[in-house]
C-alpha cells in the first residue's frame, strides 16, 4: 500500500496525545536512515495514524501495481512499482510512479514522471523514462541487479497501467 500511497500523493493524518491533528504529506511520512536508522517514520512519540487521504485524481482507468519477489506470495518485494497515468488523446498529461524495494522509503520516481509529462504513451518513452530514473541509482554489492530489475519493472508497470491492467 505504501508504494501506491506515495504515487498518489496521499496525506497521512495523525493525532497526538493532546488530541491535536496534523497532516503529513506521504513523501515526508517515511524517512531515510540518516543517524537514526531505527526510526522508519516521522511519527512523534504518542502519535497515532487516524486517517489517510488520497487526493482526487484522474488515474482510475490507468493504474497498476507490480510486485516482483523471490516467491509467489509471502515475500517482500525485490522491486515493486506503483504506476498511474492520465492520458488525454495519446498524450500523458500526468504520470505518477513510486518504487518499493530500492530505498529505505517508498521512492517517488520524479525523474521518470518528469520525462513522461507531455509525451505520448509509447513503449519507447516508457523506456526513456525508466532509464532516466535509474540513472542516478547507487547500488550496493548485493543489490546491483535491482538497477536493471527496477528499470524493467517501471516499463512493465507503465505498459500495464496504460492498457488498464492488461499486458
Amino acid at each position: 500500500m505504501a508504494i501506491a500511497f506515495a504515487a498518489l500523493d496521499a496525506v497521512v493524518k495523525v493525532q497526538g496525545r493532546d488530541g491535536k491533528v496534523r497532516s503529513i504529506p506521504f513523501a515526508d511520512y517515511h524517512r531515510l536512515p540518516g543517524d537514526q536508522p531505527e526510526k522508519d517514520n516521522t511519527l512523534q512519540h504518542g502519535e497515532l495514524v487516524t486517517e489517510i487521504e488520497i487526493p482526487k485524481n484522474n488515474f482510475a482507468d490507468r493504474s497498476y501495481y507490480l510486485k516482483i519477489r523471490d516467491r509467489a506470495s509471502y515475500a517482500f518485494a525485490l522491486v515493486s512499482v506503483a504506476a498511474a497515468l492520465d492520458v488525454k488523446g495519446g498524450t500523458i498529461s500526468e504520470a505518477r510512479i513510486a518504487i518499493g524495494g530500492v530505498a529505505h522509503k517508498p521512492w517517488r520516481a520524479f525523474e521518470a514522471e518528469k520525462a513522461l509529462k507531455g509525451k505520448s504513451a509509447t513503449d519507447e518513452n516508457f523506456q526513456l523514462a525508466a532509464a532516466a530514473e535509474m540513472q542516478g541509482a547507487k547500488p550496493l554489492e548485493h543489490n546491483k541487479f535491482k538497477v536493471e530489475l527496477g528499470r524493467r519493472a517501471i516499463v512493465r508497470a507503465l505498459r500495464m497501467a496504460k492498457n488498464g491492467g492488461k499486458a
Binding site: 516467491r71 509467489a72 506470495s73 515475500a75 536493471e148 530489475l149 524493467r152 519493472a153 512493465r156
Partner: protein, 709 residues
C-alpha cells in the same frame, strides 16, 4: 511377494489421522506433566573464541527464575556420547555462533525468556572461519573411508581426448530443515531414571546417545516419541537441547519443558551444507558417456565431521567406463551439517542431472534419449547386479504422461503471454536398505473377536508408519485393520530401526510380517494339528480357545543383500513458466515417476513424494541461507525471509509408481521412498528453465535476479 494382499498396497487413510486432526495426538510438549518448570536456551553471539565472563546475577533475581545453568555450574557430561553439535556447557570455548551457552529455568516460559535477556556475556572473540567463498581453496580430504576418493578407469585421459565434453561448477547453498514441530523436550526424573518426551527419528539411538552423554545406563533413560511433527534428518541424530533439559530438570528437582523457538531452529539442529560441485562429463558423438567426474568441496564443523556424499549418485546413475568421485572439506565455525532429506543425493543430483542436460544439448540429443543410451546393465561402481532398477520405465512412463514429445530441443521456442515455457527432466536415486528390527506381537480374544497389539520402538515422522504397520499386521494375522493396535515411539518397546535413510518402511513392515508369520507358526505348533490350508493366527486363537498369546521377533535383512546393488530410482519432469520481464518462475506442472519396490500404501506414499517434490522445487527456486561473513550468523532466521515454497509457488504434482516386484531387497519387496522423492527434482526444474530461456543457471536457488535475461 506375489500373493495379493487384502490391505498392504491399498491407500488406507492414516490410522492416526483422527487423533491428529482432533488435536488428540501427543507430540513432545503435549504430554500432561504436573509441576512443570520451563527452560529457555541462550546462545553465543560470536562464532569463535571463548566466554570470558557470564553475569547471571540479574537473571537469577528475575521473577520466577529457578536456576541459570552455564558452563560454570553445569554437571560433567560426555561430549562424545553420540549427540550432535557439541554445546553441552562443558567449557567456555565457542565453536560457532548460536552455540548453546546456557539455560534459564523459571516457573513460566515468559519469565525464563525475560530473564535470559538479562544475562550479560563477555567474550574473547577470535577470528571465525565463516566465509566459505574465501576458505574453499583450503579444503582437505576426509579420513572417513566412506567418502574416500573413488577412481575407476582413466577419467583424465578420457576427458582430455573426448570430442564432446562439459566442465562446469554447480553451487548449492546452506538449507535448514525446519519441520513444523520444533525440537522440544519434557524431562521427568524419578530417582536416577529419566523419561524424555522428545521427538526422535531413531528412538533407540536417542536413548543410547542421551544415556552415554549423561553418563548413565541406557535402561535409565526412556524416550517417548509416538508422533513426530516432521524431522527431515534433523531429528535423526539428536542435539544438546535434549540432554540440557534433562540436567536442568535434575538441577531444579522438577520436570522441565524446553522447546526451541522457530528462530533458534535455524542454528541449533544442523543444516544442509553449502556444496561446490565440479562436474566433468565426456561422451562420444553418438552420446555414449566416456567419463564422469564429480568433485565436491564443502564444509563441516571445527571439531566434528559430517559430509554429505554428493558424488555418490554419479557412481551409479549412468554407465561410463571411467569415473572419479572426490570430496574435500573445510572445517568452519558453523554448526555441524547433518542428514537433510536426500542427503548428498539431492544437491548431487542437481549437479549431475544439470551436467547431463548440458551435454545432451551440446550433442543435440534429447535428454531422455541421452539417459536411455547410458543406462547401466549393472552397478558401474562395483559390477554388482541391480536387485531391480526401473529408470528406463520411469523415464518412458513419465515422458508419456508429461507429454515430453512436445518439447523443443532449442530453448526460447515456446511462449505463453509474458512467459517463456520450458520442459526439463532429471533422475534420482537413493539406496534401499532394511535394518535389524524387533517387535512384540500380542493377540487377545474376547468371544469371537480377536485383537492384536504390535509393539516396536519404531518412529512415525507423519509419513504413515503407524498405518503401514497396521496394514501389514492385519494381512499377516487375518484381522481387519481396526483390530490392530500399533504401539511405537517408546524405547521400552523392542528395538527397531529408525525413520532415517529410507529404511523405516522396509524394516518395520518386514519385521512385523515376520513376527505375524512366527506367531501363526507357534499357534499351529501349539495346537499339535496339521492343516491343508494354513490358518490365520486369528482363526487359531478362536479354534484353540486362547484368550492371550504373544511372541517376539528379531528380524534381520536377507543374508544376500550385499551381493546386489539395491536402490530406488525416479524420473522427474518439470514444466516451468519464466516471466521474461521480471524473471519470476512458476512450476505449473510436475510429474514424478518412482520405482521403489512394493508400495505399501499408495496414499501415504503419494504424500511422501509430493513433499519431496515441493522441497526440491524450493531447493531449485527459493531456499537459501546466507552466512554473514563478519559475524558468522545466518542472515535469514524466520519464514518471512528464509523462503520455503508458499502454496502459490506449487502447481499440479502428479506422482506415479511403476510396478516393481523386487524379490531380493527383502521379503516384502519394500525399498522406501522418503529420501528419493527430493532427488532429481531441482535438476529437472533447472533444466526446464534452460529450455525456457536458454540461460543455464548453475547456482541455486534460481531467483529472479539470476534470470534477468
Amino acid at each position: 511377494m506375489n500373493t495379493k494382499k487384502k490391505f498392504v498396497g491399498e491407500g488406507f487413510d492414516r490410522i492416526d489421522g483422527l487423533l491428529k486432526v482432533t488435536g488428540a495426538a501427543r507430540y513432545s510438549t503435549d504430554f500432561p506433566v504436573q509441576n512443570l518448570a520451563y527452560g529457555v536456551l541462550f546462545k553465543s553471539e560470536i562464532a569463535s573464541g571463548k566466554i570470558s565472563d557470564i553475569d547471571t546475577v540479574a537473571a537469577e533475581k528475575s521473577p520466577g527464575v529457578l536456576t541459570v545453568m552455564t558452563h560454570k555450574n553445569a554437571p560433567k557430561l560426555n561430549e562424545r556420547g553420540g549427540l550432535r553439535g557439541g554445546a553441552f556447557l562443558q567449557s567456555p570455548n565457542i565453536d560457532y555462533r548460536g552455540q548453546n551457552i546456557g539455560v534459564v529455568v523459571a516457573e513460566t516460559f515468559e519469565q525464563a525468556r525475560a530473564a535470559a535477556r538479562l544475562i550479560k556475556v563477555s567474550y574473547e572473540a577470535a577470528e571465525g572461519k565463516v566465509d566459505f567463498e574465501k576458505l574453499a581453496g583450503t579444503a582437505i580430504p576426509s579420513k572417513n573411508p566412506g567418502i574416500a576418493d573413488a577412481v575407476r578407469g582413466d577419467v583424465e585421459a578420457a576427458f582430455t581426448s573426448a570430442e564432446h565434453k562439459i566442465e562446469a561448477v554447480y553451487e548449492t547453498p546452506i538449507e535448514h530443515h525446519q519441520p513444523m514441530e520444533p525440537h522440544s523436550t519434557i524431562a521427568v526424573w524419578e530417582g536416577e531414571n529419566v523419561t524424555l518426551y522428545n521427538a526422535a527419528q531413531m528412538v533407540n539411538a536417542a536413548q543410547s546417545a542421551t544415556a552415554a552423554t549423561l553418563g548413565i545406563k541406557p535402561e535409565q533413560v526412556r524416550i517417548v516419541s509416538p508422533h513426530i511433527g516432521g524431522g527431515f534428518g534433523s531429528k535423526g541424530g539428536l542435539w544438546s537441547n535434549i540432554v540440557l533439559t534433562a540436567v536442568a530438570a535434575k538441577m531444579v528437582k522438577r520436570p522441565v519443558k524446553l522447546a526451541l523457538t522457530r528462530q533458534q531452529m535455524f542454528n541449533s539442529v544442523g543444516l544442509r551444507q553449502r556444496d561446490r560441485q565440479k562436474m566433468r562429463l565426456s561422451a562420444t558423438k553418438d552420446g555414449k558417456l566416456t567419463a564422469v567426474a564429480h568433485e565436491t568441496v564443502t564444509h563441516t564443523a571445527i571439531r566434528d565431521e559430517y559430509i554429505e556424499a554428493c558424488g555418490d549418485c554419479s557412481k551409479i546413475m549412468y554407465d561410463a567406463p571411467s569415473s572419479l568421485i572426490t570430496y574435500r572439506h573445510v572445517p568452519m565455525n558453523i554448526i555441524i551439517p547433518t542428514f537433510t532429506r536426500g542427503p548428498g543425493k539431492a544437491p548431487g543430483s542437481f549437479a549431475l542431472e544439470s551436467a547431463i542436460d548440458e551435454l545432451a544439448y551440446q550433442l543435440k540429443i534429447d535428454p531422455v534419449e541421452f539417459r536411455l543410451k547410458n543406462e547401466p546393465a549393472k552397478d558401474p561402481s562395483n559390477g554388482k547386479p541391480w536387485s531391480s532398477r526401473k529408470v528406463v520405465e520411469c523415464l518412458r512412463k513419465g515422458a508419456e504422461i508429461f507429454g515430453w514429445n512436445k518439447r523443443k530441443m532449442e530453448p526460447r521456442q515456446v511462449r505463453q503471454e509474458s512467459y517463456l515455457v520450458g520442459y526439463g527432466v532429471g533422475c534420482g536415486t537413493y539406496p534401499a536398505r532394511q535394518r535389524d528390527t524387533s517387535a512384540n506381537i500380542k493377540l487377545t480374544r474376547n468371544g469371537n473377536e480377536v485383537r492384536a497389539s504390535v509393539e516396536l520402538a519404531a518412529s512415525d515422522l507423519g509419513t504413515g508408519s503407524h498405518t503401514i504397520i497396521a496394514q501389514t499386521a492385519a494381512d499377516a494375522l487375518g484381522l481387519e485393520v481396526p483390530k490392530v493396535a500399533v504401539k511405537i515411539g517408546d524405547s521400552t518397546l523392542p528395538p527397531a530401526a529408525g525413520s532415517v535413510g529410507s529404511v523405516g518402511a522396509a524394516s518395520f513392515a518386514n519385521a512385523v510380517n515376520d513376527g505375524c508369520e512366527k506367531i501363526t507358526d507357534e499357534l499351529i505348533a501349539k495346537s499339535g494339528k496339521q492343516f491343508f490350508v494354513r490358518p490365520t493366527a486369528a482363526q487359531m486363537m478362536i479354534s484353540e480357545n486362547l484368550t492371550e498369546f504373544q511372541t517376539r521377533i528379531d528380524a534381520k535383512p536377507p543374508a544376500n543383500v550385499n551381493d546386489y546393488s539395491i536402490h530406488s530410482f525416479n524420473a522427474n519432469f518439470a514444466e516451468v513458466l519464466v516471466n521474461e520481464h521480471t524473471g519470476m518462475v512458476r512450476v505449473p506442472r510436475f510429474v514424478a515417476v518412482t520405482g521403489a519396490g512394493n508400495i505399501l500404501n499408495p496414499k501415504t506414499a503419494r504424500s511422501q513424494i509430493i513433499g519431496g517434490v515441493i522441497w526440491g522445487i524450493g531447493m531449485a527456486l527459493t531456499e537459501e541461507s546466507i552466512v554473514e561473513p563478519r559475524y558468522g550468523n545466518f542472515i535469514t532466521r524466520s519464514f518471512a525471509d528464509y523462503h520455503i515454497p508458499a502454496n502459490l509457488d506449487i502447481g499440479d504434482i502428479e506422482t506415479v509408481f511403476v510396478n516393481e516386484d523386487d524379490k531380493i531387497v527383502n521379503k516384502m519387496g519394500v525399498k522406501g521412498i522418503g529420501e528419493v522423492g527430493i532427488v532429481g527434482v531441482a535438476g529437472a526444474v533447472a533444466n526446464a528453465i534452460f529450455n525456457a530461456t536458454g540461460k543455464r543457471v548453475r547456482t541455486l536457488p534460481i531467483t529472479p535476479e539470476k534470470l534477468l535475461l
